[in-house]
């Protein structure tokens, strides 16, 4: 088991190198630091001196990959590639354009993101599986049919409308909770309740339909027929047998997303003014702060790979047939 985890973690290294090379290529080769400086300074203030100053301020004034002027290993370490990309591997994210330490900001903003994402994930999972089981219980009846149609309708609404509509109804018309904002500690509750509910509702359509498909696939299998033949009531069949066996496909889809909860939800956080990583990312994209975007890309890939590893491990827990080797 331990050997497997170590081996899988080593497998992550080439992928992270690939991610790094790709982002490096996108940010420094497709557009040279000069282009970036010109863009940031705006068209009016572009003078060669201003560009040089901007590059020096942000540490972009070194050669890209190979520094001929430096001594010894400095030929490779005193370059943009080393400064901006290789350092990511030790989670040294550098500073943002406004001079703040990106690593510190990420550690601070992680908590509001989690406070929003974890309830949405857990309650959402519960709600979706319940709905899906209900539809599977009433399969091929009008209840099931109406449920599926409702799911398709819910799926067809953009997440933006859920948020805007929810904010308008609950906060503006009914004045139940503040429209946006955030506060630490317990008072965060009143700011989080609406985004959490909206997050759950907007996920119901796609989620429960997907679980329903999984359950229906299981329902047609032989062991279910055996269970029914033994005279077990449908309720027991569904909860004891089908739900347990459906865990494998459910885990495949779900576990991989767990580490990604850290990244926060982009649009929800930004609409509700929650100072999490999602709104951090959006603000960085809008301000064209490449340092933060690069850091978030790297963090995202690390978490994704972690998710894949966790998925494999979770199989061994729910499915005794799976042996990791």
């Amino acid at each position: 088991m331990l050997a497997y985890i170590v081996r899988r973690s080593l497998y992550a290294i080439p992928i992270l190198i690939g991610v790094n090379l790709l982002t490096f290529w996108l940010f420094f080769v497709v557009n040279s630091p000069d282009d970036m400086a010109r863009m940031q300074l705006g068209m009016k203030h572009v003078t060669p001196e201003a560009i040089e100053r901007w590059k020096a301020d942000h540490g972009y004034d070194k050669p890209l990959l190979y520094n001929e002027k430096a001594e010894g290993t400095g030929k490779f370490t005193d370059t943009i590639f080393f400064d901006k990309s290789v350092r990511l591997f030790v989670f040294d994210f550098g500073t943002a354009d406004d001079g703040r330490d990106i690593g510190y900001d990420i550690r601070q903003r992680m908590w509001p993101s989690l406070a929003l994402a974890i309830p949405v994930f857990l309650i959402g999972l519960l709600v979706n599986i319940t709905f899906a089981l209900l539809m599977a219980f009433f399969r091929a009846t009008y209840v099931d049919y109406a449920g599926v149609v409702l799911c398709v309708i819910l799926m067809s609404i953009s997440a933006l409308f859920y948020i805007i509509g929810g904010q308008y109804l609950v906060s503006k018309l009914m004045h139940l909770v503040p429209i946006s904002g955030y506060d630490g500690g317990l008072s965060a509750f009143k700011f989080l309740i609406l985004p959490v509910v909206i997050g759950i509702i907007s996920g119901i359509g796609a989620g429960s339909r997907w679980y329903r498909t999984i359950f229906l696939e299981e329902v047609n299998k032989d062991y279910v027929r055996t269970a029914r033949a033994k005279g077990l009531p449908e309720r027991v069949v569904l909860f004891r047998h089908v739900l347990k066996n459906a865990m494998i496909p459910i885990l495949t889809g779900v576990v991989v997303t767990i580490p990604m909860l850290f990244m926060g939800s982009l649009i929800t956080e930004s609409f509700f003014g929650i100072p999490g990583l999602g709104s951090y990312t959006i603000d960085a994209i809008r301000a064209q702060d490449f340092g933060i975007v690069r850091a978030m890309v790297f963090l995202g890939s690390v978490l994704y790979i972690l998710g894949l590893l966790l998925t494999d491990l979770s199989y061994t827990l729910v499915d005794p047939r799976v042996r990791l080797s």
Partner: protein, 492 residues
């Protein structure tokens, strides 16, 4: 054969028309790809006509009433989108005094749709106005006839301009126009349906009455009732838009006075382009790499798996953001490459499709790899190998046709997700160009309007309705396609 002649004659007529009318045709990149896609689809349909086994699942799709109704709605969207994909620049009137100079063309790129809905496009108001309103949304200081100034809601320049006293006449006028729209729509619908049923009757060789009865009882081969019903609703909407949209702003106007109905119609093309071209761009990679990984295994498989794991490990939005930011820098630094704003926006749209394609091909690639791994162990492939059939031929003749259902299902399923993604990306600021009309941009600007008092709700509602209808139809249709093509789903 006559059918082909007719097609050629039609194309020739269009060509002649374009040559005679003083316009400069502008072929945008996305237009070219859209027409390529239409060509590929047409070729596919013609190829399918002679193959009953290929036609059978499609028949099954169309037989579902919901799917047939969705298809009607989707077709309506496609027609609008295609009309909006023929771009040209009109010739300017030669300036007086200037001598025999070269023809000058307007910098404004128009489409056939723009031409069709000219009244909607050109009747600009000053600012916001509610749907069917005759007055502006906000008060303004106006100098009255006697020289004094007063703060009133000024009359709109076009909306309800034919009324002398809107306060008393507007309700009646709207009711009258709606009624006549209803009658007109009903008339047009009846004529269309009658003609259609007569054609069906002739084709099947029964009388008109028998055919009509079969359809009404729902015993016909296709669910005509739902097709005609949907068509009726669509025609009704068009009639209302015609009757009321001419005299009023049916869905109101936005901040700079554009008609919201016009904006919603223009957004259709953006949504469709993103939903379809993204797929068109990514499909060759996904199919080729997926099948190669599964078929050749070994180091080919390793490399391809590495590539798609790396790409899919980057959060999609961030990869798109990174790429679009780069494109933005490029466009900002090379303004001389683009003659018009539309061309610049179009390039960005194309890049957006490409980058969305890059982030979304990995899922399909993984599925195809898995399926090919299974297929290559099948007896018929083993037999082909034993007979000495080459790898290329095995892939194209034996594997590709057997994974096509996966490709088709994922293409159809992706469409609605892509349309929805456009709105979110535009909100984040990495979507289509801000100058391009799209639902995402409409929602984005409407977001702030919700905070106004009284609320400016109409652009948001318009974007919602148009987008919801398209995505819903696409979702319902894709469900039917999946049920018909997925062998795992029992044919029932």
């Amino acid at each position: 054969m006559t059918r082909h002649w007719r097609l050629i004659a039609l194309l020739a007529a269009i060509g002649l028309g374009l040559w005679l009318v003083p316009v400069k045709v502008v072929l945008l990149w996305t237009d070219a790809l859209v027409f390529l896609l239409v060509g590929v689809l047409t070729a596919f349909v013609i190829y399918m006509r002679g193959k009953p086994h290929l036609r059978a699942p499609w028949r099954q799709v169309i037989r579902r009433p919901l799917a047939a109704a969705s298809l009607v709605v989707l077709s309506a969207y496609v027609v609008v989108g295609l009309l909006d994909s023929v771009h040209f620049r009109q010739q300017l009137e030669p300036q007086a005094g200037a001598e025999n100079q070269q023809a000058q063309y307007s910098v404004e790129v128009l489409s056939l749709l723009d031409l069709l809905v000219t009244p909607l496009r050109t009747r600009l108001e000053k600012s916001y106005s509610a749907p069917l309103a005759a007055h502006l949304y906000s008060k303004e200081s106006v100098t009255l006839a006697d020289g004094s100034t007063a703060r009133i809601y000024p009359r709109l320049q076009y909306g309800g301009a034919h009324l002398d006293d809107p306060a008393t006449q507007r309700g009646k006028d709207i009711a009258q126009r709606s009624l006549s729209a209803l009658l007109l729509g009903l008339l047009a619908w009846t004529a269309l349906v009658a003609a259609w049923v007569a054609w069906l009757a002739r084709r099947h060789g029964h009388g008109f009455g028998t055919e009509l009865q079969t359809i009404l009882r729902g015993e016909a081969e296709l669910p005509w009732r739902s097709i005609f019903g949907t068509l009726g609703v669509l025609i009704l909407f068009v009639a209302i838009a015609l009757k009321l949209g001419i005299a009023y702003h049916l869905l109101g106007t936005d901040k700079v006075g554009n008609d919201v109905l016009y904006l919603s119609l223009k957004s259709i093309r953006t949504g469709l382009v993103i939903g379809t071209l993204t797929t068109l761009i990514m499909l060759p990679f996904a199919v080729l790499l997926g099948i190669m990984a599964g078929y050749f295994r070994g180091w080919v498989d390793d490399v391809i798996q590495y590539v798609y794991t790396t790409l899919s490990s980057i959060p999609g939005v961030l990869l798109i953001a990174a790429a679009i930011l780069s494109v933005q820098v490029y466009i900002a630094n090379n303004p001389e490459l683009f003659e018009t704003v539309v061309e610049r926006a179009d390039l960005r749209l194309l890049f957006l499709c490409m980058i969305l394609g890059i982030t979304s091909w990995t899922g399909l690639c993984r599925l195809l790899r898995g399926e090919t791994l299974k297929l290559r162990e099948m007896d018929y492939i083993q037999a082909a190998t034993a007979f000495g059939v080459g790898n290329f031929k095995i892939i194209t003749r034996h594997i590709l046709p057997n994974v096509m259902h996966i490709v088709l299902i994922s293409v159809v399923l992706d469409f609605s997700a892509l349309v929805l993604a456009e709105a979110v990306l535009s909100y984040v600021g990495v979507g289509v160009d801000p100058s391009m009309v799209s639902w995402g941009n409409m929602i984005n600007s409407a977001r702030l309007e919700m905070a106004r008092e009284p609320v400016v709700w109409w652009s948001l509602v318009a974007a919602f309705c148009f987008m919801f209808l398209l995505v819903l139809a696409a979702n319902l249709f894709s469900d039917a396609v999946r049920d018909a093509f997925d062998p795992r789903v029992g044919r029932g």
